[in-house]
Symmetry: C2
Subunit: 239 residues, 2 copies
């Protein structure tokens, strides 16, 4: 991709911009009393929770159920998994709300804040995530990430990789889809952005699913550009 071909960079958030695995694993360990002592493990629950993410959104995307905000999907998955993990009796209503709220506050990868500053000098740089608008607003604020605007799949009332999400974002920013570069660490997101006519940069995040599970790799992901850090992206785009 040529630096002059795009006006907008759209950053995916969970995994691409922030380390959900560390954040959610820590939050579970804080909120669920004695989770390790019970023979299970906070990281396993975090991974299982995240595994419910794509299927839960697919049912909304495929119109099997009406529009449902991500917070509600997170809560349903959590309730179900607490049963599966035999923890239902130990996690009360208040703790469940805190866990769902855990997705509002996650640590940013080290290269993010500085990389965004470089990119913002030349481009309009936005967040474009399946997280809700409120979630993303709080997450970016808390992590000190300076996006020029927050965009959520909520604004299209469906979820990525539905092309409507990517096209709604381009439309709100007043540009053709081809003038938007989607930056993401998941193959399904890159593929969805391409199908909607966006340009794409695959940002490799080897640790995004924790130390024990493989992340998506550039080699398996057709994209216009593949980078390993936001700084590498900024350099590739001449920022």
């Amino acid at each position: 991709v040529n630096a002059d071909q795009v006006d907008v960079l759209a950053f995916d958030v969970f995994g691409t911009s922030v380390d959900w695995w560390t954040g959610i694993t820590r939050r579970i360990a804080e909120v669920v009393p004695g989770i390790d002592a019970l023979g299970t493990d906070a990281a396993a629950l975090a991974g299982a929770w995240r595994d419910r993410y794509l299927p839960s959104m697919a049912r909304v995307r495929d119109r099997e159920r009406p529009w449902t905000p991500l917070d509600a999907l997170h809560r349903e998955s959590l309730d179900d998994l607490l049963e599966v993990f035999g923890l239902a009796g130990r996690v009360d209503e208040r703790a469940r709300r805190e866990l769902v709220r855990g997705w509002y506050r996650l640590p940013a990868w080290d290269d993010l804040a500085g990389g965004l500053e470089r990119l913002r000098g030349r481009y309009v740089v936005v967040a474009l995530s399946n997280g809700g608008f409120a979630l993303l607003t709080h997450l970016a604020k808390d992590a000190g990430l300076r996006f020029d605007a927050i965009l959520s799949s909520e604004l299209a009332r469906t979820y990525k990789p539905d092309p409507a999400v990517y096209r709604t974002a381009a439309g709100l920013l007043g540009v053709e889809p081809a003038r938007v570069l989607m930056v993401a660490c998941h193959g399904w997101d890159i593929a969805g952005a391409r199908a909607a006519g966006l340009r794409t940069a695959f940002l490799e995040r080897p640790g995004e699913k924790g130390p024990d599970r493989p992340a998506d790799r550039a080699a398996d992901t057709p994209s216009d550009l593949a980078v390993r850090t936001v700084d590498e992206l900024a350099t590739a785009l001449g920022c």
Copy 2:
């Protein structure tokens, strides 16, 4: 209004956050050749253009016409006024586009950037304007205004003071309307926010319509709080 009663501050933009009158008057003088020599005046055209703003949006709000973005309303008003001012033959398509685009780049009032920093330490601080999402994103970026999120009436496909705009904003931010404080310099905006259940702070901007025309005054505007600068607002809210 008590500082603990609100979570979100929503700033109006044209007039409240930025000096549209100076910005548009200058842009007209740059783009329209010899406008003073023709016996008219850039400031008069800027004022007349802005005077078309509320009536043009009212026709959308009242469902007399379908949803129409502000850029299109600005363009229609401009085309009409160039005829009225006898300038139609001197302003070509390219110049008209530049003039409409002039609303994307306007100077911020001096107290804005610093005041937002103070307020952001305690509150989620957003823009909430009848400007389009793209317009507001560019305007905030260009003026160096750090909002936590950009919200536009475009997201509700109607215009302030339609209560749907204020309520859509609160909904996207995940709070009750009463937890949002609308900060604005226009009586109609404050009244609309109150009618939608928001709390309100009237921010007096005596120069917002230029030196020759009176601006709305706190004395005529029922609101929860009346201030003359963003710093005064920050102090009133304990920031």
